[in-house]
């Protein structure tokens, strides 16, 4: 760690891990309910578990992104954060808004709009919180000694993410329009501006871990985020095939979302090539595992599995089925969860001074969580295909089909257990690093 104020990142990461743990618990509640064991129905019905599960994901990833920004921006801008005190205010208010939202979901205090269940009144608090965060990051960046491409791309991603959130707050009487603009947030986040954030973090990590020249890495970063937007923006059309808007989206969405895997492929090739090219090998092997893992798994989960049901002819049958959950899990895991775990693995030893670069526990965490998640994805996929075939093709009753898929959720739960053990090992590693300290300030092997 080079600047004292980078320590604030630790607490964002800690919050992130706490929420991630909770997210997994709610996932289990849903998995068991799907397998036929809904003993918690009276206290936590499925729709509550679902809203909590997906919103916790969003909040822990955002907290992780914010932590990443608080760690990366001072180092890139070569100055302390403008106000550490305000960063802590932002952290605490983020945690409070998150807790109110999550608790509220248990008492029917929500807005049933997939992924954006936070009620409007709380939305305003989210906006204030994010403005404070952006203010701190952008002022630090512009007061800094240098403005690197990595820092600009990361900040741009965070800024656009905040702007796009506003389109999800527009009120509509029509379910179609509501849905249409909800995707401006959800799709343009995950298949657009969040990839800027991911790209920025990835580029920072590659510069640190491989020792390849910054100019080379940042040039390719532009190409990759360029490809992402070129395919991803009009690729939003794949959400518009069958929700009541013009047929033009079948063509536009079909063509551009077919190009989306290319952006992810480019990202994976970029990471692997930079690693191969790098002559200086950083001793933090675990960070390297997670970094390369994120680039590769996101290509499989977001790129390939997304493509599996993105063409209009296929999506006509898979739209609104468990096939979506199959793609969603591996995509979020690879692209966003793993990049957050990567930046944590890289920065923790630097903030705490405990250089736990390589351990059996750390490697087990990586492999068990990844194998578990791939197993879960396969289970979702099989259940999804069964559902599509029986319900959409053979026109069987919904619940008859659901009975047929119960066994796949048993498999899912087994794989999820493996995944969870991996994540618990990661948490133990996190804990073993101890707290951040100024004693860790030093000239790091960069």
């Amino acid at each position: 760690m080079k600047y004292k104020s980078q320590k604030v990142a630790y607490w964002f990461f800690a919050l992130s891990m706490l929420l991630f743990g909770l997210q997994i618990i709610y996932g289990f509640i849903m998995g068991f309910a799907h397998a036929g064991f809904d003993g918690l129905h009276a206290a936590i019905p499925f729709n509550t578990a679902r809203a909590v599960h997906t919103n916790l994901l969003v909040v822990w990833l955002l907290s992780g992104f914010m932590g990443a920004a608080y760690y990366i921006i001072p180092e890139e801008a070569q100055r302390e954060l403008v106000s550490v005190k305000l960063a802590y205010v932002q952290l605490i208010s983020l945690a409070i808004v998150g807790v109110i939202a999550i608790v509220g979901y248990h008492f029917n205090y929500w807005e049933g709009r997939k992924f954006l269940e936070i009620p409007r009144s709380l939305d305003y608090l989210v906006v204030v919180n994010v403005l404070l965060f952006l203010g701190l990051i952008l002022v630090t960046l512009f007061k800094g000694k240098r403005r690197t491409t990595t820092a600009l791309v990361l900040s741009m991603g965070l800024l656009f993410a905040a702007l796009l959130y506003l389109s999800g707050m527009l009120p509509f009487d029509s379910q179609v329009k509501d849905s249409f603009f909800r995707w401006w947030v959800v799709h343009l986040w995950v298949e657009g501006v969040w990839e800027l954030i991911m790209g920025g973090i990835l580029s920072f990590l590659l510069i640190k871990l491989t020792g390849v020249d910054r100019e080379v890495i940042e040039k390719w970063l532009y190409v990759i985020v360029g490809l992402t937007f070129l395919s991803g923006v009009l690729g939003t059309g794949h959400h518009y095939y069958y929700i009541g808007v013009n047929k033009i989206w079948l063509i536009v969405g079909g063509i551009f979302s077919a190009l989306e895997p290319l952006a992810f492929l480019a990202m994976a090739l970029f990471a692997v090539n930079m690693y191969r090219k790098g002559e200086k090998k950083h001793p933090n092997k675990l960070a390297l595992y997670w970094t390369l893992g994120a680039a590769i798994v996101s290509f499989i989960g977001a790129g390939l599995l997304g493509f599996a049901h993105t063409l209009p002819q296929t999506n006509l049958y898979t739209h609104g089925t468990l096939v979506t959950a199959m793609h969603g899990h591996l995509a979020f895991w690879g692209a966003y969860a793993m990049i957050v775990l990567a930046i944590i693995s890289y920065s923790l030893p630097n903030m705490t001074g405990r250089k736990l670069y390589e351990s059996t526990r750390g490697r087990m965490a990586f492999w068990m969580s990844n194998i578990g998640m791939i197993g879960m994805t396969v289970a979702f996929g099989v259940a999804g295909v069964v559902q599509v075939y029986l319900e959409r093709k053979l026109k069987m009753e919904f619940m008859e089909v659901q009975k047929q898929t119960e066994i796949h959720f048993v498999v899912l739960i087994i794989c999820a257990t493996l995944f969870m053990i991996g994540i618990i090992l990661y948490f133990i590693d996190f804990y073993k690093h101890g707290k951040p300290t100024n004693e860790a300030l030093e000239v790091q092997p960069t």
């Binding site: 849903m30 729709n47 807005e111 329009k177 040039k219 532009y222 190409v223 937007f229 923006v233 609104g320």
Partner: protein
């Protein structure tokens, strides 16, 4: 070989152009002549129904227009499949509705609220869904 400046121009140029096309297409698909979202038939009951739909996070279990969770049935064309009487019974019952063992929260809606939700479903059913309705509707049996 590509320079960093060219790479940046590709990124900025590509982004601006695709965003402009995207906004253009959005305006086009909601323009009067192209709109197929059944906008003109939204009544006050439909709006109230949509609010109930959101306030109770029905999408947390069901899907509508193919969007939501996958724990309970798709509700596009539900009136055609089940009839109003059945839907009203499900919405107003004070005990958990549990077809084949899977429970739905007993919302115990009033008759007016149930009527609003039915108006909402009815409005949904008249949207032109580019063929998706035939996949989830019984009228399409045997066609696929």
């Amino acid at each position: 070989m590509l320079s960093k400046k060219q790479a940046r121009a590709f990124f900025l140029g590509g982004t601006v152009v695709t965003f402009l096309i995207f906004i253009g297409l959005t305006i086009y698909s909601f323009s009067k002549s192209q709109d197929q979202s059944n906008d003109e038939n939204i009544t006050e009951a439909v709006v109230r129904g949509k609010k109930l739909w959101e306030d109770n996070n029905c999408m947390g279990c069901h899907t509508i227009l193919g969007e939501g969770a996958y724990y309970a049935p798709e509700l596009t064309k539900v009136i055609e499949r089940r009839g109003e009487g059945y839907i009203k019974a499900v919405l107003t019952t004070p005990v958990d509705w549990a077809p084949n063992g899977r429970k739905m929260v007993a919302y115990g809606f009033t008759a007016e609220e149930a009527a609003d939700l039915i108006a909402f479903f009815d409005w949904i059913d008249d949207i032109d869904l580019n063929g998706f309705d035939t996949v989830v509707s019984p009228l399409a049996k045997g066609e696929n």
